[in-house]
């Protein structure tokens, strides 16, 4: 009787709580339901034979029935007068149910979130919208039964995934659909998008860092991003082929790997490498799953909570280390990175607090999304840096290529010079060999003619042939002779010969430094002309005095040979005696682009004026 009465009382209470939905002008009106009857039972329908206590919604199992793994039946009643006439579609909106549920309207199954027994479909993040078919809604009181399956807090790693049911809302489908869509987007779509971004960016950066070992921080960041995306993959994979215990274990095992990646990323990014850390982090990634396994699925939550704090502290320490290094080195990237890391840390802290106290709300969601968003931003920042580094590398490569090209050209030039030098050396050696051979053979024979021929003409020819041979083997472009040296040679020969012949000689020539040079050929030709002139003086002139003067005038070399002898007799045709070699002297002067003038007359002596253009004589070479 008492029990009946209590049941009745509860019903009456519900009546009071419920706001009656009228069919007119309430399209925008919804009703929130904050209480329901609840019973732990695995029956296929609401167990009417047992007394169902009233519970407040939201009903957190960890608070209301710790250690219980459900299933829990919830019952509530509502009425919707006039609804059927109006043809309006009603809907039930469940913001949060964990892990899964079925909905019965007046004893008829109208909605199932998926698999109700292990492996249970994971719907903790997915808000549920249940259409209530108008045909099933009676004119009076309608009963709505919800069967919720879930897990005790101790068996999951996060309060988010502990069993429970949020407050319910009943109203027009059109209104609630919008609300559901918004919540779905916030809970599922946005995290999905962010984690997809992380997955793509992370794999890309991982490959980038893997290929370039000096940029290992990129690889670690990539691993972190990909790991995060894997954890978030439950948003897609609501149905896993294994039990909750296994899923939770695998999920937790991912966390030390993420910590490994994040700590190493921060250290490497700060250009720091520690062998100790290199060993400890992978070791931790083995120790943590082992500890969870040893603790067993029943004590997952306390064990995981302990590890959360430990791992979070490690990451935090690495972040502090990184920022300190950046600050000390006065890096430009300190402030943006500090901001990003602070936001991420704050978001993690908020999430931790939310987890600890089972808080729920838009702020918590925002904090949940903030961390991966910050990761995306850090990733973009890294890519930007990488891009700049790549650009810089390209530039320096271009510079290097330029320098290599220059160096190559230089080497080629040097090589060409060297080759040229060697050719010159070989040529020189060969020239000397040929010269020696010619001297020893041809030279000796010509010499024999010079000194044994009875004809002076032949001996002169032979001597000239010898000189020609010398010129040839020296090369016609052989070393030019300094004019001052040439004058010295001529003077020595002329003075010596005239002195030998007992003729008083007088030589005048410029004494100052003379920059001019004569080509080898010009020197030899001029020497011959002078020799011829002196020979004439000695042999034919009968002179007692001979003066020679060399002057430089207007780029010309002028040599005047004057004697006080008999002069040269005229031939019949009025020309000077050819026997005196005048013709050959004139011819030679002409070859040097100069001229040889002879002034003579019987009794007047002879004057020979030889004019040679110095510059052209040089060019003749």
């Amino acid at each position: 009787m008492f029990r009946e009465g209590r049941q009745l009382g509860a019903r009456l209470l519900l009546w009071l709580v419920l706001v009656l939905l009228t069919a007119t002008g309430v399209a925008a009106q919804t009703v929130k339901i904050h209480a329901a009857q609840a019973l732990v039972s695995d029956q296929s329908s609401f167990p009417v034979d047992q007394a169902a206590p009233r519970v407040d919604l939201p009903d957190d199992w960890s608070v209301s029935r710790p250690d219980s793994n459900g299933p829990v039946w919830y019952r509530l009643s509502f009425s919707a007068p006039g609804l059927r006439e109006k043809g309006e579609l009603l809907a039930l909106y469940i913001e949060h149910v964990c892990t899964n549920l079925q909905v019965y309207l007046n004893g008829q199954l109208v909605h199932s979130g998926g698999q109700m027994s292990e492996p249970i479909t994971q719907n903790c993040n997915h808000p549920q919208l249940v259409s209530l078919p108008a045909g099933l809604i009676g004119p009076g009181l309608n009963s709505l039964d919800l069967k919720v399956v879930g897990h005790a807090l101790s068996r999951v790693a996060s309060t988010h995934r502990a069993g429970g049911l949020s407050a319910l809302e009943i109203g027009p489908q059109s209104v609630l659909a919008g609300k559901h869509a918004r919540q779905l987007a916030l809970n599922v779509a946005v995290p999905q998008a962010v984690s997809a971004t992380l997955l793509l960016m992370g794999s890309f950066m991982f490959v980038l860092g893997w290929m370039n070992r000096r940029e290992s921080h990129l690889a670690y960041f990539g691993a972190l991003s990909v790991g995060w995306a894997i954890i978030e993959s439950r948003l897609w994979l609501r149905d896993l082929p294994f039990d909750n215990a296994v899923a939770e274990f695998l999920l937790c095992s991912m966390l030390p790997l993420l910590t490994w990646a994040s700590v190493q990323f921060l250290l490497r990014y700060a250009q720091h490498r520690s062998r100790w850390v290199d060993i400890a982090l992978p070791l931790q990634a083995l120790v943590m799953p082992a500890s969870l396994w040893l603790a067993g699925p029943e004590r997952l939550y306390p064990m995981a909570s302990f590890w959360y704090v430990l791992l979070a502290l490690q990451t935090l320490a690495a972040a502090v280390f990184y920022l300190r290094t950046q600050y000390r080195e006065r890096r430009r990237s300190f402030w943006p990175m500090a901001l990003l890391l602070c936001i991420a840390t704050l978001a993690l802290a908020v999430e931790y607090v939310a987890q600890k106290f089972g808080l729920r709300g838009p702020w918590m969601l925002l904090a949940q999304i903030a961390t991966p968003v910050m990761m995306v931003l850090v990733g973009l920042r890294l890519l930007q840096q990488q891009g700049r580094a790549l650009q810089a590398a390209e530039e320096s490569k271009a510079q290097l290529e330029l320098r290599i090209r220059e160096a190559t050209a230089e080497i080629e030039r040097n090589f060409a010079q060297l080759a040229e030098l060697r050719v010159e050396k070989v040529t020189e050696r060969e020239r000397k060999r040929i010269a020696a051979d010619l001297h020893d053979d041809l030279g000796a024979k010509l010499l024999t003619i010079v000194h044994t021929s009875d004809s002076e003409r032949i001996s002169t020819l032979a001597r000239e042939a010898l000189e020609e041979m010398r010129l040839s083997v020296r090369g016609l472009t052989g070393k030019p002779v300094q004019l001052i040296d040439a004058l010295g040679d001529w003077r020595a020969e002329v003075i010596s010969r005239l002195g030998q012949a007992g003729i008083e000689a007088d030589w005048t020539a410029p004494h100052e430094e003379l920059p001019q040079t004569l080509s080898a050929r010009a020197f030899v030709q001029t020497t011959r002309i002078l020799r011829e002139a002196v020979s004439n003086v000695i042999k034919h002139a009968g002179a007692t005095h001979c003066s020679l003067s060399c002057t430089l005038f207007d780029g010309d070399l002028q040599i005047v040979v004057r004697d006080n002898g008999n002069g040269i007799p005229m031939e019949l045709d009025g020309r000077l005696d050819r026997g005196h070699g005048m013709a050959s002297m004139k011819h030679r002067a002409k070859q040097l682009q100069g001229q040889c003038l002879v002034e003579s007359g019987p009794g007047y002596g002879t004057v020979i004026r030889l004019t040679l253009p110095l510059n052209r004589a040089i060019e003749l070479a």
């Binding site: 000397k432 010269a435 020696a436 001297h439 020893d440 030279g443 000796a444 010499l447 024999t448 010079v450 000194h451 044994t452 001597r463 010898l466 000189e467 010398r470 001052i484 040296d485 004058l487 010295g488 040679d489 001529w490 003077r491 020595a492 020969e493 003075i495 010596s496 010969r497 002195g499 030998q500 012949a501 030589w507």
Partner: protein, 220 residues
């Protein structure tokens, strides 16, 4: 000049040179040789006052004969008579101790004059030889910090007077003319020239000794 060595491989030239020598030294005893080997044999047997040595010979270079004379008969005046007028032939000859260097193609009277001068103790010196000798000593006097030769070879360098003489020879002045210009006797000038030739020889011998030492011929 009583004993004269004439080393020349071509018979015609040898005859011509012989007649030329007899013109200058009518009383001379001329020992003729056509090969280095023969000449060296004569050097070890007869004491010569003058030697006319050709360079390019069938069995070697006359420079060896000049060196042998320098070694065994330092009083002998060796004169190279050759067709080669280049540094590669001239310098080794002078360094080996040749007292003069006569080019065969010169006119007969010029060669006679040079021989006469030699007989009167005046060494022949042409402007071009003077220039080369100056260049040689100038190159040697250049500081060579990395070379051991500058430290080990006794410093043989020309005095200012010797350089002065060479400079004037290079300009074409005869030795008597230079004597007048410097108010010195022609014999003094001739002595300077002899001294220059000696220094050339000493310098080359020091270098040769050093080279031998460097190659490990001594001190083993």
């Amino acid at each position: 000049m009583t004993n004269i060595l004439l080393l020349e491989d071509l018979p015609e030239i040898r005859a011509w040179l012989s007649s030329l020598v007899l013109q200058v030294f009518p009383d001379a005893q001329i020992a003729e040789a056509a090969r280095v080997h023969d000449a060296l044999g004569l050097v070890s047997a007869i004491k010569f006052d003058l030697a006319l040595v050709d360079l390019g010979l069938p069995d070697g270079s006359g420079v060896d004969v000049v060196a042998a004379l320098r070694e065994h008969q330092p009083e002998t005046q060796s004169v190279v008579v050759t067709i080669h007028d280049d540094d590669d032939h001239l310098f080794p000859a002078l360094q080996a101790g040749a007292f003069g260097y006569i080019l065969k193609e010169q006119a007969r009277e010029l060669i006679i004059e040079q021989l006469q001068r030699i007989s009167s103790g005046e060494p022949p010196l042409s402007p071009s030889i003077a220039r080369r000798v100056m260049a040689y000593f100038a190159a040697k006097s250049k500081p060579q910090p990395m070379s051991a030769s500058s430290a080990s070879v006794p410093a043989v360098s020309l005095t200012d007077r010797e350089t002065e003489v060479l400079l004037r020879v290079a300009k074409g002045y005869t030795l008597p003319e230079i004597g007048q210009q410097l108010t010195l006797s022609r014999h003094t000038i001739a002595d300077y020239v002899k001294q220059i030739y000696r220094k050339l020889n000493v310098s080359s011998r020091a270098e040769a000794a050093l080279e031998a030492q460097r190659m490990g011929l001594f001190g083993r």
